[in-house]
């Protein structure tokens, strides 16, 4: 095997497209209006989109594989997890300007605790859940509680963080006061997204076609909600009336009633829907992993417009979240 065949055989991962020419793009400058920040896992770039014109303003580089984001409690910095790049990048959430980066091992998904004290990071590749002191980003505790830690959510009182383990098929509850695991519960094949909702923990079962509802006290499954094949992630609308579930294998969104968890609607969304954000105009901005595009879905017209971005768009943040308090609250950011 030769050097370049080694390159070709090493999947992996990530980074900027050859033709992206970030320096040229930067020279084009950014607008002053709201922006969408799209994390292109396969291209190792961050696309900055003007939400008004829907044009890509520029692309910023990362090391390898930007996946998910977290907004600091003061909303002044957006943290971008670059998993195989072993780094967190800091961006100005209003402009997308890069503010530096810090090396930490394998940050895949990350979220600040509601009280702003901790930043929990799931290390999907390295099978660790790392809890950092939010103020200093120093490691508070490292947990080895399952294989392929994926998504996470907190209780509103910040006492417990729940993380899904894709390989183990479990959800783990970690007590942040004592820094000890409280319980580990089998929930089904390949759990991914987790969301605290109405005193329940919801987790999307990607190896199946449903959302499992867990009792936060012990992880027992109290109910399953049929969605579609490859249920991946879960989002509460800003008006708190509906829940959207992205289904990766089916290529669809499932809309659930947030109160009853009853089925409302299935929306075809080919392209591998992953992360999404709700804009103030009611549209959904959706990262489509397999089509190098962001979908902008209008629930009123049921139409989706597409914006070409970098390779394998994964996480998406929209700057309207900085002032949209209902949306912030729905995402447990306010």
């Amino acid at each position: 095997m030769t050097g370049s065949s080694y390159l070709a055989r090493r999947t992996l991962l990530a980074a900027p497209a050859l033709l992206a020419l970030p320096a040229v793009a930067r020279a084009a400058g950014g607008g002053t209006g709201p922006i969408a920040i799209v994390l292109n896992s396969g291209g190792a770039t961050i696309s900055i989109i003007d939400m008004t014109t829907r044009k890509v303003l520029r692309e910023e580089p990362t090391y390898r594989e930007p996946s998910h984001w977290a907004l600091t409690p003061d909303r002044k910095k957006l943290l971008i997890a670059d998993a195989s790049g072993n780094a967190i990048f800091f961006l100005d959430p209003a402009t997308g300007a890069e503010l530096g980066h810090k090396l930490i091992p394998d940050p895949y998904q990350l979220w600040f605790s509601p009280d702003g004290r901790y930043l929990t990071v799931t290390c999907l590749r390295l099978n660790r859940v790392d809890v950092y002191h939010a103020a200093s980003l120093t490691l508070a505790h490292r947990f080895k509680v399952g294989e392929m830690p994926s998504h996470l959510t907190y209780t509103p009182d910040s006492k417990t963080v729940f993380a899904s383990m894709q390989q183990s098929g479990t959800v783990v509850a970690i007590d942040l006061a004592s820094m000890t695991p409280r319980w580990t519960a089998p929930v089904g094949k390949t759990p991914a997204g987790v969301m605290w909702h109405d005193e329940m923990v919801l987790t999307a079962i990607m190896g199946s076609d449903h959302v499992a509802v867990l009792d936060p006290a012990n992880g027992r499954i109290t109910r399953t909600i049929l969605t579609d094949k490859g249920a991946h992630n879960i989002f509460l609308t800003p008006d708190r009336a509906k829940i959207y579930v992205t289904n990766r294998v089916a290529g669809s969104l499932t809309v659930l009633d947030a109160k009853t968890l009853g089925f409302i609607k299935r929306i075809p969304m080919p392209g591998g829907p992953d992360d999404l954000c709700f804009a103030p105009d009611g549209r959904l901005w959706i990262a489509l992993r397999f089509s190098s595009r962001v979908g902008v879905y209008d629930p009123v017209t049921d139409k989706t417009d597409h914006i070409p971005v970098g390779r394998s768009p994964h996480g998406i943040f929209i700057s309207t979240l900085l002032t949209d308090h209902p949306a912030l609250a729905a995402m447990k950011l306010a």
Binding site: M1, T2, G3, S4, S5, Y6, L7, A8, R9, R10, T11, L12, L13, A14, A15, P16, A17, L18, L19, P22, A23, G42, G43, A44, P61, Y63, R64, S84, G85, N86, L103, I104, P105, D106, C123, L124, R125, L126, N127, R128, R142, M148, Q166, K189, T190, M206, G207, K229, G230, R248, V249, G272, R289, F290, S291, S292, P308, G310, R311, S312
Partner: protein, 320 residues
């Protein structure tokens, strides 16, 4: 620009390889993973699919360029080209078959162990871009640096595979081919592949995972390697021969005199390393290829016969 031209440009995907891989992922790979209960690999399977798409594209490119040239300017013509078909099988196996997935899985497991070990001791695994911070934001330069380093280390791997007789007993499978064509690049004993893989794994763990974001560059490098094996009477000229490995340069390595422990022109993509370490030979003409010392089964046998022959050669070498 006219409206029609604009529409045409808009219709061209910005990331054609990625979009094709994404389509395959959605219609074929994910449904299989889903049914098999392996959705935990869905994050990584997209990368595997992408590598397979690159591999097929590279094969098509090599075929489209090399076949007409091999027919128009052949070094040799053969009555019976049956041994070439085995090389075609090797190529499929290496580029789109099970080998890329196997090597990836092994590398992934090793990297998880090592990176986890380092992380638990407060270290972040090294990468070229963190060792040389000025590289950040210059991905093309970074990629070229990775390519140079990997090609340099490959030069030494290749040279050592000739130097040690037990290693050469395996590598002889690559050299035994008397009908060398662009398909011969991937004609390797599986244990030789494993040794190569381990070699590059160590390098990869020392300098980080090379970024795979440059499909065009990767395709070009792979093309150079296939092209250098082609049965084409072609030299790149005095300067070109010293910048990129050509069919003439690499054929000298595969010539009967180049087989065995005392060879020349070990470089895969760049001839610099041979020039630097005095193993370059630009004087040899287009001689016949093969290895007189290799068993006939290794030269003209089936895939299984060649692999078995490699193992028996190793056993013979061990016995002295």
């Amino acid at each position: 620009m006219g409206g029609a031209a604009s529409s045409l440009l808009a219709a061209i995907p910005a990331h054609p390889f990625n979009d094709l891989a994404g389509w395959i992922e959605q219609v074929a790979v994910l449904p299989v993973l889903y049914r098999a209960g392996l959705m935990q690999w869905s994050e990584l399977s997209f990368g595997w699919t992408l590598v397979a798409v690159y591999g097929v594209t590279q094969m098509i490119l090599a075929y489209a360029v090399c076949v007409p040239l091999e027919r128009r300017f052949p070094i040799e013509r053969w009555e019976n080209a049956k041994p070439v078909f085995v090389d075609v099988f090797y190529t499929f196996l290496a580029r789109v078959g099970i080998l890329p997935v196997m090597t990836f899985v092994i590398f992934y497991a090793a990297q998880v162990q090592l990176d986890g070990f380092l992380a638990d001791r407060g270290y972040v695994p090294p990468m070229l871009e963190t060792m040389i911070p000025a590289l950040f934001g210059h991905p093309v330069v970074t990629f070229i640096l990775y390519a140079l380093i990997l090609d340099f280390t490959d030069y030494w791997r290749h040279r050592l595979s000739h130097r040690f007789s037990i290693w050469y007993a395996l590598h002889a499978v690559h050299h035994a081919q008397r009908q060398m064509t662009f398909w011969s690049d991937d004609r390797n004993h599986f244990m030789d592949e494993i040794l190569s893989f381990l070699w590059f794994m160590v390098v990869g763990l020392m300098i980080g995972i090379p970024p795979l974001q440059f499909p065009l560059l990767i395709l070009m490098l792979r093309f150079v390697e296939s092209f250098s094996h082609a049965n084409i009477r072609l030299s790149f000229g005095w300067l070109g021969e010293r910048l990129l490995v050509s069919p003439k340069f690499h054929r000298a390595h595969h010539a009967l005199l180049g087989a065995g422990q005392d060879s020349c022109n070990y470089g895969a993509v760049f001839p610099f390393w041979d020039m630097m370490f005095r193993t370059a030979d630009f004087t040899r003409d287009f001689g016949p290829t093969g290895d007189h010392t290799a068993p006939e089964a290794m030269a003209s046998g089936s895939y299984v016969a060649q692999q078995w022959s490699g193992l028996t050669q190793v056993a013979r070498t061990l016995r002295g």
